[in-house]
Structure formats: structure tokens, C-alpha cells
């Protein structure tokens, strides 16, 4: 087990390094000068040059690159000129809302996808297949911001059932204000989840152990619950892990629609204000977050299904 995890972690290192390197290169390609942007329009060339020296922007590119990597290791992402504070402080302030939103979305995604997939796999009826296909095909094409706006229109503005934006100040208020955004983000990953779960369930429904269970006289619903679903659940875990990138993307978009103070809205604010350090830090962090979740998924998967780590 330990050996398996170690191998996975070692495999992760080059990818994390690649993520950091790509972010660095992209920011160096971006037009404009972070120091000039930080100082504003009225800065003299001398003050800009002084800030260049202070930030090490006058150093050769390769030195800057290693300074950037060194900063990442100790959590030093530089300062945000837009918010006049360190990027690390901003992250501490904004990350919780995003993580909470992702968690709520996961719950909604499971609540929506699992029953629908179970229904299709258990009944194998045309009706369930058509309903499921129409649902996934419709939802697949709905941009997250459109779902969000629709929800605001229907359940927010016109009925007043849910808040149309903001994040509240207590845990209860947080959760309450994340209901609509959570549904909007969940719907971005539901189509893939439903398709994979239905496929996995149908696979295990035709496996020999389910035939055996059926020949013992177990009811169809019992077979689905106790045999097929347990095996398909493993697939579900891995699909959820793989979908984390979409979850982050969905959160990024939806946070801006609902004015949730998370890192998604932070990225958009930073992009629009050309706040280089923040954009760079968030690019790296989102990338590393996704890779870390992949690793976690691998490990969970190997615990649930030992065949994986025993080589196959």
C-alpha cells in the first residue's frame, strides 16, 4: 500500500512542476508590466525601475523562474496590487467559500445522478432511457451561467425562495445561499456522471454474480442495491475525482453570477484588473488542486478496489 502511494506521489511531481512552469511562461508572455500596473498611471520610470529591483524583475528569466518556484514552496505568491495585500492572505479569505460551493455541488450532483442512473439500469425501460437521455442532452448544453441566471429568475427574483447572491455570515446562511449556485455547478458534471454510472450499472447488471443472485430468486431492486450498485459505486468515485476540473470551472463561472466571494470570482476580478500575481497564483493553485484530487482518487480507488494496486 505504502509503496503504491509513494509511486503515485512520485508520478505527480513532474506534472506539478509542469503546471508551475506553464503558469510562469504564460505570465511572462502576458503583455504589460506588473510593476507599472501596481504603481498606477502616475509612476515615474525611476519608481518602476526601483520596484523591478525590489521584486527581482530585473533578474535574468531563469533566476526569476527559480525564485518563483522557491516562492511557491513556502507559499509566497507575491502581493496583489488590486487588494493591496499578499496573495496568500487573499487565498485564506476566499478559498473557504469555493471549497464549500464545490462540496455542496458534489452533494447535489450525487442526489440528481444516482437515482436517475439506478432507475435506468434497474428498469431497463424505454421510458427511463429516453428521460435520462433528454435530461443529459439538455443539461450538457446549458452553460453554467445560464443555469444560474435561470435559477435566479425562477427561484430567486420571482418567488423569493432563495437568495439571489452573496454568501451570508453564518454556516446556515452559507449553505442557504449556496443552494442555487450548488445546483448550477452540479448540473455541469451530471451528464458525464449519469452516463458513466448508467454504463457501469448496466455492466454489473449483466455480470455473472448478478445472474447468480437472480437465480437465487432475489428481487431486481435488491440485486441493484446490493450487488450492482456497490460495484458501480467504485466507478462513481473515480468519475467524481476526474470531474474535479469541471467542478472548479463551474464554480469559477457560477461564483461570478451569484457574487460569491470565492477564488473563482477572485480570478475574474484579477483578470479584469490585470492583477498578475493573483492570476499566476490561482493558475498554479487550481492546477495543483486538480492533480491532488486525482492522486486522492487513485488512493481511495486502490483502497476500495485492491486489484488496482496489485498490478492488473
Amino acid at each position: 500500500m505504502g509503496k503504491y502511494i509513494l509511486r503515485r506521489v512520485l508520478l505527480m511531481i513532474p506534472i506539478v512542476l509542469g503546471v508551475a512552469t506553464l503558469s510562469f511562461i504564460l505570465m511572462k508572455l502576458a503583455p504589460g508590466d506588473p510593476a507599472a500596473a501596481y504603481l498606477g498611471d502616475k509612476a515615474t520610470p525611476e519608481t518602476v525601475a526601483r520596484l523591478h529591483r525590489a521584486w527581482g524583475l530585473d533578474q535574468p528569466m531563469i533566476i526569476q523562474y527559480f525564485q518563483f518556484l522557491g516562492g511557491l514552496v513556502v507559499g509566497d505568491f507575491g502581493r496583489s496590487f488590486l487588494f493591496q495585500t499578499t496573495v496568500l492572505e487573499l487565498l485564506k479569505l476566499r478559498m473557504p467559500a469555493t471549497l464549500m460551493l464545490m462540496l455542496v455541488s458534489l452533494v447535489f450532483a450525487v442526489i440528481i445522478s444516482v437515482p436517475l442512473s439506478l432507475w435506468v439500469a434497474a428498469t431497463k425501460s424505454s421510458a427511463s432511457a429516453i428521460v435520462s437521455r433528454v435530461f443529459t442532452a439538455t443539461v450538457q448544453g446549458m452553460p453554467a451561467f445560464f443555469v444560474g441566471t435561470l435559477l435566479i429568475l425562477v427561484l430567486g427574483v420571482n418567488t423569493g425562495l432563495f437568495p439571489v447572491g452573496g454568501y451570508g455570515s453564518s454556516l446556515g446562511e452559507h449553505l442557504y445561499s449556496l443552494v442555487l449556485p450548488g445546483i448550477a455547478v452540479a448540473l455541469t458534471i451530471c451528464p458525464v456522471l449519469i452516463r458513466s454510472l448508467t454504463a457501469a450499472l448496466s455492466d454489473s447488471m449483466s455480470a455473472e454474480y448478478t445472474n447468480f443472485a437472480a437465480s437465487k430468486g432475489l428481487s431486481r431492486s435488491k440485486i441493484v442495491r446490493n450487488y450492482a450498485f456497490r460495484n458501480a459505486g467504485i466507478t462513481g468515485i473515480s468519475i467524481l475525482g476526474i470531474q474535479v476540473g469541471h467542478l472548479v470551472g463551474g464554480a469559477l463561472v457560477v461564483e461570478n453570477v451569484f457574487a460569491i466571494p470565492g477564488v473563482g470570482s477572485l480570478l475574474m476580478e484579477a483578470v479584469l484588473a490585470r492583477d498578475y500575481n493573483v492570476v499566476q497564483a490561482l493558475t498554479v493553485i487550481f492546477g495543483v488542486l486538480v492533480v491532488a484530487v486525482y492522486l486522492l482518487t487513485d488512493i481511495v480507488y486502490s483502497i476500495v478496489d485492491p486489484r488496482v494496486r496489485l498490478g492488473a
Binding site: 508520478l11 505527480m12 506534472i15 509542469g18 503546471v19 506553464l22 504564460l26 502576458a30 435506468v120 431497463k124 425501460s125 424505454s126 432511457a129 429516453i130 437521455r133 443529459t136 442532452a137 439538455t138 450538457q140 448544453g141 446549458m142 452553460p143 451561467f145 445560464f146 441566471t149 435561470l150 429568475l153 427574483v157 458525464v192 458513466s196 448508467t198 454504463a199 457501469a200 455492466d203 473515480s238 476526474i242 476540473g245 469541471h246 472548479v248 470551472g249 463551474g250 469559477l252 463561472v253 453570477v257 480570478l267 475574474m268 483578470v271 479584469l272 492570476v279 490561482l282 493558475t283 492546477g287 495543483v288 486538480v290 486525482y294 492522486l295 487513485d298 480507488y301 488496482v308 492488473a312
Partner: protein, 310 residues
């Protein structure tokens, strides 16, 4: 080479786990070849494909010839007539600047759909070439290409696209480059998987034995045989692109105003939601959903036709 299923160990289309590299950033391609237990007549006549084609054709026709009948300039402002309700001159009403919504809807749809479709071409070609090189040659070629793919796909799609637009500035050219830089990965993975199987086939050995050059084998015998899976994926890729274009424009990072575009219209609609004029959000929104729905059906239908028999 392959080190266990990892998270991509989901039962693949044909029951065997899809091949993955390293496993760390491995992604399962959604089981493209899985078909739902739809009723027989739907599959036999390929009703899905034709429903999709009819819806899409209707939409394209509407956008193509619509502006010939709606001669109103999409950018002509009429501030005295802002948020005008439906009338003979403006069937969908007017927006916050008094511009004709129907005309903006038709012109905007053209822009979005053209960008979304055109933006599939480069990733398709790039991914196909890189994926077949990786699959055919293996070894370091495979390692370099697929590691690059792993790194690109470690970034959440929207994060990378938005950052690329940040680097290159708003506008159509940036959208094309951003989408191309990110989307090739999916095609490369799909094609690589196909090529891994193909290169062991007898007819490829026969090509080699008869002395064909490697570029010729790749171009004439390997790549054409991988195209069908790429084309099926391209259908959902167009859907993805429409979402990207509209979303970027919604946030003011995409098509530059005043050019009409569905995302920008929906942004206007959201900002002036209080005015009770929901047409700006709903017309473009449902159009996006309808087009995507049609493409999803076409993708399914093509899967039924092109499904390889192995």
C-alpha cells in the same frame, strides 16, 4: 508502460479498462460507445441522428437566411425606445439601448456558431497528429506528448482558457488560440488509444512488410481509421466550444462589443433583470440549449453508425 487503471479504471466502452498513462492525471474518456437501452425503432431508423440533424438544420437555416428578412441593423441604437416590448417593428422587443433583439439574436448566433465550429478544426487536426504519433511510435515520443497532455489537462478547462485570454487579450483570435491550446488533449487521448490497438493489426504489419514508408502508413492507413472516434467526439466538442464562447462573452472576455453575440446579450439581460425584460436572457439561452441538444443527438446517432465492430 500502463500502470493500472487509476481513476480512469471505469469500465471502458468494451468492458476492459481504458489504457492510461501513469494514472496520476489519467482521465476516462466518457464511454462514447455505450448506448442506452433505447427502444428499437429509435436505433434502427437512427431517429436520434435525424432528429438532431433536423433541429440543427432548422437553426442554421434560421440564422443563415433570417437576417435577409430582418433588415433592422443589430447595432442601431434608439434610446427613446429602450426595453420596448414586442411590436411589429421589433418582434422580440428592444434592449437597454433600444436595439432590435431579434436582429441581434440572429447576427449574434451566426458569430457564436461559426466560432464554435471553426474552433474544432485545429484541435481535431493537432490532437489527431500528436495522438497518432504518440500511439504509433511509443517510447519517448509517447512520454513527451502524453506528459504535455497531462499538464494541460491538470488545469481546469475554464481556468486555462480564461488565463490564455488574459495573456492574449479579448477577441476572436484569442478564443481560437485558447480553445486550440486546450482542446487538442482530448483528441490526442482518443486517437492514441485507437492507434495502440491499430498498430498491432495485421493490415498495418502488411503495410510495413510491403515497404511503405512510416509517414505513408500513418497518413493513409492509421489516421483514417481513427477519424470516426474523433468525429464523434467533435460533436460534444462543438457543444463545449459554444459554452466557452458564450461564457467568455458573458463575462466581457470574448467577442468584443458592439458585435452582437449571445453571451453579451445574456449579460445585458442579467444586468437589467430588474426591468422585467427576460427576452435578452431567454432567447439566446434556449437557442444555445437547442443547438447543443441537437449536436448531442447527432453524436449519439453517429456513434450508432460508426461504432467499430471489435
Amino acid at each position: 508502460m500502463t500502470s493500472g487503471p487509476g481513476p480512469a479504471g471505469a469500465p471502458g466502452p468494451s468492458g476492459k479498462p481504458p489504457r492510461t498513462r501513469g494514472g496520476t492525471a489519467a482521465r476516462a474518456t466518457p464511454s462514447a460507445r455505450f448506448t442506452l437501452p433505447l427502444p428499437g425503432f429509435l436505433r434502427r431508423r437512427n431517429l436520434q441522428l435525424w432528429t438532431g440533424v433536423v433541429i440543427l438544420a432548422a437553426m442554421v437555416l434560421l440564422l443563415a437566411i433570417g437576417p435577409l428578412f430582418v433588415t433592422e441593423d443589430p447595432n442601431r441604437q434608439d434610446l427613446l425606445n429602450a426595453f420596448g416590448s414586442s411590436s411589429a417593428a421589433h418582434p422580440m422587443g428592444t434592449d437597454q439601448l433600444g436595439r432590435d433583439i431579434l436582429s441581434r439574436f440572429l447576427h449574434g448566433g451566426r458569430v457564436d456558431l461559426i466560432v464554435a465550429v471553426v474552433a474544432v478544426i485545429v484541435p481535431f487536426l493537432l490532437g489527431t497528429v500528436l495522438g497518432s504519433l504518440a500511439g504509433y511510435f511509443g517510447r519517448w515520443v509517447d512520454v513527451v506528448i502524453m506528459r504535455l497532455a497531462d499538464i494541460v489537462s491538470a488545469f481546469p478547462f475554464y481556468v486555462l482558457v480564461i488565463v490564455l485570454v488574459f495573456v492574449m487579450g479579448n477577441g476572436m483570435a484569442s478564443i481560437f488560440v485558447a480553445i486550440s491550446a486546450v482542446s487538442w488533449v482530448a483528441y490526442a487521448r482518443i486517437v492514441r488509444g485507437e492507434v495502440l490497438v491499430l498498430r498491432e493489426e495485421e493490415f498495418i504489419s502488411a503495410c510495413r512488410a510491403s515497404g511503405l514508408t512510416t509517414p505513408r502508413i500513418l497518413a493513409r492507413h492509421v489516421i483514417p481509421n481513427t477519424a470516426s472516434q474523433g468525429i464523434i467526439y467533435a460533436m460534444s466538442d462543438i457543444v463545449l466550444n459554444i459554452g466557452v464562447v458564450v461564457t467568455l462573452s458573458f463575462f466581457g472576455l470574448g467577442i468584443v462589443p458592439p458585435t452582437a453575440d449571445w453571451g453579451q446579450m445574456m449579460n445585458d439581460g442579467q444586468q437589467y433583470m430588474g426591468s422585467g425584460n427576460y427576452g435578452l436572457i431567454l432567447w439566446p439561452g434556449f437557442a444555445v440549449v437547442l443547438v447543443s441538444f441537437a449536436l448531442a443527438l447527432i453524436g449519439d446517432g453517429l456513434t450508432n453508425i460508426l461504432k467499430p465492430k471489435r
